[in-house]
């Protein structure tokens, strides 16, 4: 619509022109638009303002309300009403009946607007970036919002009569200054998201989604699922399966372990003492290399482990962990080894050699 060609002095007026041009395309002919572009029309109409006060007022009402349908928050937020009056008047005098007809649809909005302003009143005090963002690039967002709000208004037209519209049109300009400020807040209504309650709610939701992401990594086969409900299902299934597995394995152990009775006893009866002063479980496994250990931690050269690894502390973490723990836990356990295991191993070095 040639916004670049419009050379009105203030940028806010520029924005309104965009809306005017786009929104009123059906109502206002191109010629009028062209006329209105020039600052002369505005100034000339300024002179006439006192003459038809009422006319002016009604139009002044129609403007925000009619805009209200398409994009009133932006227009109102971007320029103040007096200017808007000028612009609207400049454009619409010939079309006034048309505009007024259009206005009664919007005066529905006018009612809504009032209710919105109540909730919107909270917003300027709280610092919600999203709202500010929404206000500043109006031009970019205007098309979508227009569509959205048109859809809203479409079921409504013709509910209020023309008379009511006219009445409202006369009533509104009296408090024209008061709602004007409120419109700014109306824009933020969609979220209603800035009172402390909803902020806390948002924080909670963020927490939940963050933990969901954490769980996503833990639960296998869950990485591609996005829905929360499905995720929860997966998590529940996984936990249940793990619990069942523990049960099953304990049954298996119970069936099997009597044979192992002697071994385990032998291993642990002595190793517990070591472990207790070492503070690490590795020590418990270190000294005694029974058959259980060999199986548990893989076939490792036992002699090497005992004699050499324990002496060479810096390498011990790697070798112990690589020989002891299987693939999946390796890197994790390596971390765990570093602080405790090395120290305790060196501590127990003497006693182990005694045992050997």
């Amino acid at each position: 619509m040639g916004t670049s060609s419009m050379t009105t002095p203030c940028s806010s007026a520029n924005v309104t022109e965009q809306y005017l041009v786009t929104d009123w395309n059906s109502l206002v002919s191109v010629d009028q638009n062209m006329d209105f572009i020039g600052p002369s029309s505005i100034s000339s109409y300024d002179v006439r303002v006192p003459q038809n006060q009422e006319f002016n007022c009604s139009i002044a009402d129609t403007r925000p309300s009619s805009f209200g349908n398409e994009s009133f928050p932006e227009t109102v937020s971007s320029f103040d009403l007096s200017e808007g009056c000028k612009v609207a008047n400049a454009v619409r005098p010939p079309n006034f009946p048309l505009a007024n007809k259009h206005s009664f649809e919007k005066n529905l909005k006018g009612k809504k607007r009032k209710s919105l302003t109540e909730c919107g009143a909270v917003h300027p005090h709280s610092s919600l970036e999203r709202i500010q963002k929404d206000i500043s690039p109006e031009s970019a967002k205007s098309p979508t919002e227009k569509d959205e709000k048109k859809q809203k208004s479409e079921p409504n037209p013709g509910v209020t009569s023309h008379k009511q519209a006219a009445k409202l049109a006369k009533e509104d300009p009296q408090d024209g200054d008061a709602p004007k400020e409120d419109y700014i807040h109306v824009r933020a209504k969609r979220g209603q998201a800035t009172n402390s309650h909803s902020l806390a709610e948002r924080v909670r939701r963020e927490k939940i989604s963050e933990r969901m992401r954490l769980l996503q990594d833990l639960v296998p086969g869950c990485s591609k699922i996005t829905g929360k409900a499905v995720m929860l299902d997966e998590i529940i299934n996984y936990v249940q399966s793990l619990q069942r597995q523990v049960e099953f394995l304990s049954m298996k152990l119970a069936a099997v372990s009597p044979e192992l009775n002697f071994d385990l006893e032998q291993i642990l009866s002595k190793d517990i003492f070591h472990a207790q002063d070492g503070g690490s479980a590795v020590v418990g496994f270190g000294p005694r290399m029974s058959s259980l250990h060999a199986h548990l931690y893989g076939p490792s050269p036992q002699g090497v482990m005992q004699s050499e690894i324990l002496c060479s502390v810096p390498h011990s973490e790697d070798m112990i962990s690589s020989s002891i723990w299987h693939d999946e836990l390796q890197n994790v356990v390596q971390m765990g080894f570093i602080p405790n295991a090395a120290v305790s191993d060196t501590e127990n070095n003497g006693s182990m050699k005694m045992e050997l």
């Binding site: 909670r204 939940i208 996984y238 936990v239 793990l242």
Partner: protein, 152 residues
């Protein structure tokens, strides 16, 4: 077995877990040689959960709840007694303010699965669940290895 290791490093948990569990196994094998295998399996299961909870330390809500439940001697580790469930249910209704999920039942199911999660708000429940899953999978891994080493 009741010795508490307050390890800051979560990776020590696996070592502690193995240590606790194997010690418990040895103790069980020593003491309960005459008991039926079902009872043995129950005892071993309890030992597994107890070692898990001990390894996790007292900071976690689930480990505390698990230990409490174990000490009280309730044989059912996961399904709560009926009386308690109703009580905790009403309690939860008060505490948990309208979970946003479409199916609040799922959250309830999860609450029942994770020990100590009955009266928990969703985000902390998820946190506990994450840790619980980690510990459980470590426990399963350990037990699988023990079983594998024994049977092979």
């Amino acid at each position: 077995m009741n010795r508490k290791h307050r390890t800051k490093n979560p990776n020590n948990n696996k070592l502690m877990l193995a240590f606790h569990f194997l010690r418990a196994l040895a103790r069980i094998n020593k003491s309960t040689s005459t008991v039926s295998s079902y009872q043995r399996s129950c005892i071993i299961k309890r030992a597994a959960y107890a070692s898990m909870a001990h390894a996790a330390g007292p900071r976690r809500a689930w480990s505390r709840a698990l230990l409490y439940r174990l000490r009280r001697g309730s044989s059912r580790l996961h399904a709560l007694p009926a009386i308690r469930r109703t009580r905790s249910f009403s309690h939860k209704r008060v505490k948990v303010a309208s979970p946003k999920l479409r199916e609040p039942n799922q959250a309830d199911v999860l609450r029942r699965l994770v020990p100590g999660g009955e009266a928990m708000e969703l985000s902390s429940l998820l946190k506990e669940t994450a840790h619980y899953i980690q510990c459980l999978s470590a426990q399963v891994w350990l037990m699988q290895n023990v079983v594998g080493s024994i049977t092979s």
